[in-house]
């Protein structure tokens, strides 16, 4: 059973009248890469700041390695932080920046030399010690920030949207490198981001957050394929939400005459109203009506290159989104009636 390195117990943080973090319970396991994912304002950065010690919780406790650090100031927590703007000291060289934490820990000079060189090699910036941060590109600065946070082997690594300032290509490169470094060092990592692709690609577990609370905590696959709430289904990937009533253990009637089969979830409670979610990439265009299809009228067609986004309305007025991969099986035009294939196992039952 993996040990919890960081624990938040019923942590709340208020700013004036606003509750940024709401009675949050979270246990971060040793060696894992955990992402805090959510839209801006969801409280993910505040959660990070609580762990780091930059803000104190209004209520609740924070534990690191089993030790209560709630009142402990940031400089005594022994963590490594990478800031969104990198915060490299402009008046110090790259070497001095990376050595900063070591100097604070009174490490002897010879060892500082060795360990800084090691850290810079880890992030592949071996020969830039004497330069000033201002002379480096964004990607290089980010790596220096990472080296600086890792060189003194902190218990936990905290990253606050570190890739946000980079352009797309660089972001993807750094994402892979970051994961590789984290795996090789094996350090427990908390990663804050609003970019779901990043979170899905990097994490062992994701905490999807909204309005100060964790909506769902699980592996990327859990979160994507079995969203627990409507918010998660909406935020991660795209979803169509359909409403209906359960008329059988695995049957849902969207409207009289429009029934769909739903499997891969537990038996439904009879007579209850249900909300179903289905990902657009699982909705196909069938050549002809058959089992598991429903007729719909095309309303919108948006060409996106690799796929075409089609919105269509079912007989009962509910809208469905479908991603049709090119080449389209049939010629499409607005107003046309098509048959959407809705595989039973593609549905996720919400609330």
């Amino acid at each position: 059973m993996a040990k919890a390195v960081v624990e938040l117990r019923t942590c709340t943080r208020d700013f004036g009248g606003v509750r940024a973090v709401d009675a949050m319970d979270l246990a971060i396991l040793e060696g894992e890469f955990l992402s805090l994912l959510g839209p801006s304002g969801c409280g993910k950065t505040t959660t990070l700041n609580l762990i780091a010690g930059f803000v104190e919780p209004t209520a609740g406790r924070i534990l690191i390695d089993g030790e209560d650090v709630t009142g402990l100031p940031a400089h005594r927590r022994g963590l490594g932080v990478v800031f969104q703007s990198y915060a490299l000291f402009p008046h110090l060289s790259v070497f001095e920046n990376v050595a900063f934490g070591l100097r604070e820990r009174r490490v002897p000079a010879a060892e500082i030399e060795r360990r800084v060189a090691e850290a810079l090699a880890l992030v592949r910036l071996d020969r830039l010690g004497r330069q000033k941060p201002a002379e480096l590109s964004g990607g290089m600065q980010q790596r220096v920030a990472l080296a600086r946070a890792l060189v003194y082997r902190p218990r936990v690594l905290l990253l606050d949207e570190p890739l946000a300032a980079l352009d797309k290509k660089l972001r993807e490169e750094m994402r892979d490198e970051l994961r590789a470094i984290q795996r090789s060092v094996g350090i427990t990592t908390v990663f804050v981001t609003h970019d779901q692709a990043e979170a899905l690609g990097l994490s062992d577990r994701i905490a999807v957050m909204s309005r100060g609370r964790i909506e769902q905590l699980g592996t990327p696959r859990d979160v994507y394929e079995r969203p627990a709430t409507r918010f998660v289904a909406d935020f991660i990937g795209a979803s169509t939400i359909l409403r209906g009533r359960a008329i059988g253990a695995d049957l849902v009637a969207l409207s009289p005459g429009l029934t769909i089969k739903v499997s891969a979830v537990g038996a439904l409670a009879m007579g209850r109203d249900v909300e179903l979610a289905i990902r657009p990439e699982r909705v196909h265009l069938a050549a002809a009506p058959g089992t598991g299809t429903a007729a719909a009228r095309i309303e919108g067609i948006v060409y996106q290159g690799a796929l075409t986004e089609v919105t269509a309305r079912l007989g009962d007025g509910q809208q469905v989104r479908a991603f049709v991969t090119e080449p389209a099986p049939l010629p499409l035009a607005p107003g046309q009636t098509v048959h959407l294939s809705l595989p039973a196992d593609a549905f996720m039952v919400l609330a």
Partner: protein, 261 residues
């Protein structure tokens, strides 16, 4: 549009002419007992280099340096709070209290110190009024608003994230200040110090009133010789000296500012 600059330049030209008169008189011979002047001479500058007057110059430089250092130490905490406080009310209060002395004029501020240093409030164990100590206190008090504003401007430009980063790396607050905040506020410190030093070199009312004639600075010499003895050439030489020293120092500010831009 460019012509709009002309009237302002005319004013500056007039100012320059006044300074030109200064230059002119500094090389003319003083005729005692009248405002007439003799011919070209460098005597006035030679007087500047006599031991008596060199002493005055040295005293002025020393006093200005002491003022600058003390003002810096006294101003930094206030400037830091002014720049970093989250409370708008605190900032407003500090700003008003800092700016107000600027606008109450030299006489009012110096008179206040005549009262305080002159045993009107408390009796001092050692004499304060009409001594160098007293003048120093008055000068520091006079310079603090300027220094506070220049330091605060510099500190407010330092992104607070650097202080957070240093804390996250294990530096306790005193170390954060020493290793990060202080170095990053260096431009403000340098420009504030140079300006205070330059202005103090030519300070008049404070040494005149608080020194009571016993503390001589360059500016008091200019006034004594110029207005009391009518030795305009002699006074001009000293005034020119003050001018040259000030310009040299402030040119230094300009370069320090440019280097850190």
């Amino acid at each position: 549009m460019k012509l709009l600059l002309a009237p302002a330049l005319a004013v500056i030209a007039l100012f320059a002419v006044a300074l030109g008169c200064l230059l002119q008189y500094s090389v003319l011979e003083f005729v005692p007992g009248s405002l007439q002047t003799g011919g070209f001479t460098l005597e006035n500058f030679r007087t500047v280099t006599t031991p008596q007057y060199l002493g005055v110059i040295w005293d002025t430089v020393w006093l200005s340096a002491a003022t600058t250092v003390l003002t810096l130490v006294a101003s930094y905490p206030v400037a830091y709070m002014l720049a970093r406080t989250g409370s708008a009310r605190v900032r407003s209060t500090l700003l008003v209290l800092t700016l107000a002395p600027f606008f109450t004029g030299a006489i009012v501020r110096t008179y206040a110190w005549i009262l305080v240093l002159g045993n009107a409030v408390i009796t001092w164990p050692i004499p304060m009024l009409f001594t160098e100590r007293g003048v120093l206190v008055g000068l520091v008090h006079f310079s603090m608003p300027t220094m506070i504003l220049m330091l605060a401007a510099g500190i407010s430009h330092i992104d607070p994230v650097y202080e957070r980063a240093a804390a996250s790396l294990g530096a306790r607050p005193a170390r954060v200040f020493w290793r990060v905040t202080l170095p990053l506020s260096a431009p403000g410190i340098v420009s504030g110090s140079l300006i205070v030093f330059a202005w103090t070199l030519s300070a008049y009312p404070t040494p005149a009133l608080l020194g009571g004639g016993k503390v001589q600075m360059i500016a008091t010499v200019v006034k004594d010789r110029g207005l009391d003895s009518f030795n305009w050439p002699g006074a001009a030489a000293f005034a020119l000296l003050a001018l040259v020293m000030t310009i040299a120092l402030l040119a230094g500010v300009g370069r320090a500012g440019a280097r850190t831009a």
